[in-house]
Amino acid sequence: MDSKRTSRRQLLSGGAALAGVALGVPVHAQTHDHHASGPASGSGNAYPMLPSDKAMVAYGERSHFVTSVRIPHGSNGSPDEFGKTFHVASPIQDQVGNITPSSLHYIATTRQAFLPDIDPKQHTLMIHGLVDRPLTFTMDDLKRFPSVSRLHFVECAGNRHNARHKTVQESHGMTSCSEWTGVLLSTLLKEAGLKGSATWFVAEGAEEVKGASSMPIAKAMDDCLIAYGQNGEPLRPQQGFPLRIVVPGFEGIFNTKWLRRIKVVDRYLMNYSDYGHLREDDEGAALGYQIGPKSVITFPSGTQQLPGKGTYEISGLAWSGGGAIKTVEVSTDGGKKWNRAELKMTPQRMAHVRFAYQWNWDGNETELLSRATDEIGQQQPMLAQIAEFFKKPVGYVPGLNNSIMPWKIAKDGKVTNGLA
């Protein structure tokens, strides 16, 4: 098989005369072509060719020139010595547009978990508790309900930028955005007949730790999505194949993967994952639930290098757990003047939106910032504004950290963390 493939490649990229004979094209015609397209190898194509093997035909791969990869986030290894996955950050410095490629979606698991290998034919979702009829759905059942497809980000509560981070992948890589396809949880709860006494629900996964979280029933009826699809294909195993819940705008941990059970209850049911989110003060509890308005510049960002003064498109991502992004502003002078950025698509509710601002760098040292405002009027704060509001030292950030991220541009074009 190997020798056969090699000989075919040699044929394709090899001598002109051989190729010409094989294709029945006169040799002199090919020679003429070469002159027209500049210096080239004998086949008439200036580039080496990729092997067109069965795997590439069946399920494509990116170019081997594209090397952007995820990295373990924080101090925990993923996979660790037991083969478990915990926190893995997405290379958002390399991404364009609004959607995160499924292969590069950030990963987080409850506790640190093994990724279950679930046969979708065996998988069921049970809805029970305060409903008129408990119901068990197969994957086929779920696909017979009216489906919806929506863009939503999922962000981990651990996505907290600090002065030690070098790159935007380290500081902001624990957020990703996909087009999720599935059934609205409200559709399923109506099918089961929600009782009037229902106030909370628990969503539980099928992985070995059976990660579970409690959420208000109002959220379930508003916009929760029981998703089987991600970016046009079934969910990836790392994203909960074959089924997950997407809880738009809530901290990542609520978006239970490998979803196997939903229990409707009349009280806050404290699961292990909920215990992990207990806070002493009301501010911390409230701000660590629904994600605030947030944005970050991904180009230019930490460890990147501007080749010299001149025009650049400053580009980044903005999102909010409160709704759609309304505006993003960019400052190129450390926050003295704010300029309206261009949004690269119609902002969706609880979804990343790409923003950009055209900038002419004069070659002087400066600081780049971005600031998002969402449709319910929440505006991304500076660290100092949070401290001032709570009358605490600068650096105090209750809940998920949505403060403004500064990137320093040095005279030589080097980009570094502005918090450092």
């Binding site: 049970m126 809805i127 029970h128 008129d132 009829r133 408990p134 119901l135 068990t136 759905f137 059942d141 017979r144 309900f145 109506k190 099918e191 089961a192 007949g193 009782k195 628990v202 539980e204 070995e208 730790v209 059976k210 579970a212 208000p216 109002a218 959220k219 916009d223 059970r261 229990k263 209850v265 009280r267 806050y268 049911l269 404290m270 699961n271 292990y272 215990y275 207990l278 806070r279 002493e280 003060d281 009301d282 501010e283 911390g284 509890a285 409230a286 701000l287 639930y289 629904q290 605030g292 308005p293 409160g322 709704g323 319910i376 929440q378 505006q379 704060p381 949070i386 509001f389 949505n402």
Partner: protein, 192 residues
């Protein structure tokens, strides 16, 4: 037309008991899915709430728990008495005089409910053999870990009645979640 649809729904449900419930409440729109038996629900529902009403019968003491901690291999990851292993530390080393929020985030110390400790050991331990512990073993391990953290005395017997009554050090001293509403800022008065 409505009654025809309802009749069809009742036929789908099959059981006369469930059908009469449905009559009193609501009718399904799509008729998809299957009504699980009470046994199927019991088998899958592993949630233990703070009232402990879902707890299976069983019992255990700290002394028994200490043995289970070794026999089930907990000690391998968590270390003797739950300290010094590669796994999370399970025994507090801080003073009981400190406020709970200044002490370690250890489940059998910080949790507002002893039932959450039971629930987590039952669903999430031991690593690689989750869900295999017997109720008595879970009661015993819960008792042991509450004892080493000085939450309960050594002679306590934990069972489905006494476990929900254990007074945890945190008491009522933790923040409740806000009453969440759609399209509403996270914290009243907070502009960010």
């Amino acid at each position: 037309m409505g009654s025809l649809k309802l009749a069809a729904a009742l036929l789908l449900l099959g059981s006369p008991v469930l059908a009469s419930t449905a009559l009193a409440q609501s009718a399904p729109t799509y008729g998809l899915g299957r009504v699980p038996s009470a046994e199927e629900v019991r088998a899958r529902d592993i949630n233990i709430s703070e009232t402990g009403e879902e707890l299976p019968p069983g019992r255990g003491t700290p002394k028994e728990g200490e043995k289970v901690f070794t026999l089930q291999g907990c000690i391998v990851c968590h270390g003797p008495e739950g300290v010094g292993g590669v796994g999370p530390k399970l025994k507090s080393s801080t003073s009981q005089d400190l406020p709970i929020w200044r002490r370690e985030r250890i489940l059998p110390l910080r949790s507002p409910f002893a039932t959450t400790v039971w629930d987590y050991i039952n669903r999430g331990m031991p690593l690689g053999r989750e869900g295999t512990l017997k109720p008595d073993e879970v009661y015993a391990l819960t008792a042991y870990l509450l004892f080493v953290n000085k939450v309960i005395p050594e002679d306590t017997v934990l069972d489905e009645k006494s476990l929900p009554k254990v007074k945890m050090p945190i008491g009522e001293g933790y923040a409740r979640l806000p009453d969440w509403k759609p399209n509403t800022p996270r914290l009243t008065g907070y502009p960010y």
